[in-house]
């Protein structure tokens, strides 16, 4: 941006930015009860711009549906889809859910009604209520027609900017003053305003989502809890790297800051909490993700983000430690490999095998840890247990060789 701003052009520019309806201040909380769905069941686009958008996204969906990144477990997909039906309001039967095998906390909604959920999201959810909250947020984007509204907002603002710039340029040339600074300011104002609108829509989706979650009989408090958890994870990750976590708020952010979302969702949850018994659905959730939790944990510990991984494991362990969680805790230490980490890993492997659900690999790791510390017989017994549990493991021959010595 040019530094040669005169006070007059600055004031003129800001004046224009304001009169064009630009607001760049922080987003106020949207009362959840004020959110009404803008689509009915079986919504189809009627306007030309929305039809065009849908046609593009139908191609995108075809690509995604055929992607080899998808995790194709029919039972789990049906479960996710059923959840979408529970919190999807009038669009309940129109939502499609795809599960992408990507170890990140994310999900997105397409304007045509399909949603992509990342596997890293499922790892972080402690129960069905939390997951329903995320799905309801995404469904909220569809219910409130966010993509087409965003597109129309962009169309309107870029057109206004272009006409303004052209008018200022031509007027400036005719009247003999330089309008370049003014145009740049207006450009900047437009950009800020587009991001502000995106944040407003995210806040809408949160508000719309929490109503749906609460009406479906889930605890609305699960939604702010997800954000609380995510903020703490970001901080834990940064702390391990001796960095400071980003505050997350910026004029150029597409989403409101996590803190702000958490605070607003807390207030909204308080408005919606009723005397009815609410559901968390932890058992149902664990049954649905079944053996995938191991895969998701495995993906996570390989991200080389020990702060986040340990935080996640400890978070999941708030519902009770088990062999799986101890095993992956040990793996985080082993993979980090700083001084003293091997001892921490050995302790965690030992803790893992005390649980009946310890994965076979926990016995192998425990066995080698014992051998290294000179406890030969116990170590051999643990390795024997590994072979008994996983006789066809790819490294079985190597372990047998160790035992033969």
């Amino acid at each position: 941006m040019s530094v040669a701003l005169t006070r007059r052009s600055l004031i003129a520019g800001l004046g224009c930015a304001c009169c064009a309806g630009f607001a760049v201040d922080a987003q106020a909380r949207i009362p959840p009860r004020s959110m009404k769905p803008l689509v009915g069941a079986g919504h189809r686009p009627e306007d030309k711009d929305e039809q065009g958008l849908w046609q593009q996204y139908e191609r995108v969906e075809e690509e995604i549906a055929g992607s080899n990144l998808l995790l194709k477990d029919p039972a789990l997909i049906t479960y996710l889809r059923d959840l979408g039906e529970k919190v999807g309001g009038p669009a309940a039967r129109d939502l499609r859910v795809y599960l992408a095998h990507v170890p990140e906390f994310n999900a997105f909604m397409a304007p045509t009604g399909f949603m992509v959920v990342f596997s890293g999201l499922l790892l972080r959810m402690r129960d069905e209520a939390q997951l329903a909250g995320v799905i309801a947020h995404e469904a909220g984007h569809f219910l409130r027609r966010h993509q087409i509204r965003m597109w129309r907002d962009m169309k309107r603002k870029t057109a206004a900017l272009n006409f303004l710039a052209m008018g200022a340029g031509v007027g400036g040339a005719a009247g003999g003053f330089y309008a370049g600074d003014l145009i740049q300011l207006a450009q900047f104002g437009t950009i800020l305003s587009l991001f502000a609108y995106s944040r407003e829509l995210e806040a809408e989706a949160d508000a719309m989502g929490i109503v749906q979650v609460s009406e479906a009989g889930y605890a609305p408090t699960a939604m702010p809890e997800t954000w609380q958890q995510l903020i703490a994870e970001t901080e834990a990750s940064a702390a391990f790297r001796r960095k400071r976590a980003r505050r997350g708020y910026s004029l150029l952010a597409t989403h409101p800051a996590p803190e702000q979302r958490m605070i607003d969702l807390r207030a909204s949850a308080a408005e919606l909490t009723s005397a009815r018994t609410v559901d968390r659905g932890r058992e149902r959730y664990l049954r649905a993700i079944g053996p995938h939790r191991k895969t998701f944990l495995d993906d996570q510990v390989k991200l080389n983000d020990p702060g986040a991984s340990l935080f996640l494991i400890n978070t999941l362990a708030r519902d009770g430690w088990n062999g799986l969680l101890h095993y992956y805790e040990a793996e985080v230490w082993r993979l980090r490999g700083r001084r003293g980490d091997d001892a921490a890993a050995a302790n965690a492997y030992a803790a893992a095998i005390a649980f009946p659900d310890a994965p076979p690999e926990a016995w192998r790791a425990h066995g080698y840890a014992l051998l290294r510390s000179g406890r030969r017989e116990e170590g051999r017994a643990a390795l024997g247990r590994y072979l008994a549990l996983a006789p066809t493991a790819p490294d079985a021959a190597m372990v047998r060789h160790t035992l033969s010595q």
């Binding site: 065009g52 690509e63 169309k155 870029t158 272009n162 340029g169 040339a173």
Partner: protein
């Protein structure tokens, strides 16, 4: 004097700003297919949209459908004139014995290879190893297997975009040029086409010929074809595929 220069500049902008460009490259050994050959046209990727006043392109479903239909018809007509047997794949599951998944993978592979060709042969990031070698890329065994399964000699991949200025955009274009006469020259782009065609020899898997077409104009209301109409579609097909040049070594031998 200053005014005279501006008018000159305006005139030259209008003259240079509107044009049709194609640039084709071929495998050095490439001879354009003639006589009895068979060609499969992979599902063309077509988008037609409206240029908004802000300069964004808004896709239009009805125009896109029209253009796709017209382009496919124009392609079939043109290839028939050359003596080739053309088969058009409108959906991924349109080939017997080849799964939609396999077709999708071949399309994605071609997209990656096509991007690489565009980057290194058109966008200026030249590779020292590919200098003076024409188009030297291959889809490998996957394409050969696809050729065997379909019994086809060539596959054609086609991508086409066309756009038309909205009335708001045209107003801005007019203002931008009118401004030139008083010293504020801001010509705005209107609609335009961009397309590419890529020919793959299914017997070797190699990309043997590649062509890129670009049309556009800064003058309001001026366009170079409209693929929503049968004539405009035939014109684009002709510009893209009409004059296939042989590869360098083949030309040198002749």
């Amino acid at each position: 004097m200053r005014r005279g220069l501006l008018v000159l500049f305006t005139a030259s902008t209008l003259a240079l700003g509107g044009c049709v460009q194609t640039k084709q490259i071929a495998d050095v050994q490439f001879a354009p297919p003639q006589g009895d050959y068979s060609l499969i046209v992979m599902r063309p990727d077509v988008t037609v949209g409206l240029v908004t006043a802000g300069g964004m392109i808004e896709p239009r479903a009805d125009w896109t459908e029209q253009a796709r239909t017209n382009l496919l018809r124009a392609l079939a007509d043109q290839q028939a004139d050359r003596g080739g047997r053309t088969r058009i794949l409108e959906t991924r599951d349109g080939v017997q014995g080849v799964s939609a998944e396999t077709v999708a993978e071949l399309e994605r592979l071609h997209q990656a290879v096509g991007n690489s060709i565009a980057l290194h042969k058109y966008l200026g990031v030249t590779l020292p190893t590919k200098r003076r070698q024409g188009v030297d890329w291959t889809l490998g065994e996957d394409a050969v297997r696809f050729g065997r399964a379909t019994g086809m000699d060539y596959a054609l991949f086609l991508h086409a975009q066309d756009s038309f200025a909205s009335s708001g955009r045209i107003a801005l274009q007019v203002l931008g040029i009118a401004g030139c006469f008083i010293g504020f020259c801001a010509p705005q782009s209107g609609g335009g086409q961009s397309a590419y065609a890529s020919l793959v020899d299914l017997r070797t898997g190699e990309v043997v010929w590649f062509n890129v077409l670009q049309t556009g104009s800064l003058a309001p209301g001026v366009g170079f074809g409209d693929i929503r109409t049968p004539e405009g579609a035939a014109q684009m097909v002709e510009r893209l595929l009409g004059r296939m040049k042989a590869g360098r070594l083949v030309r040198e031998r002749e």
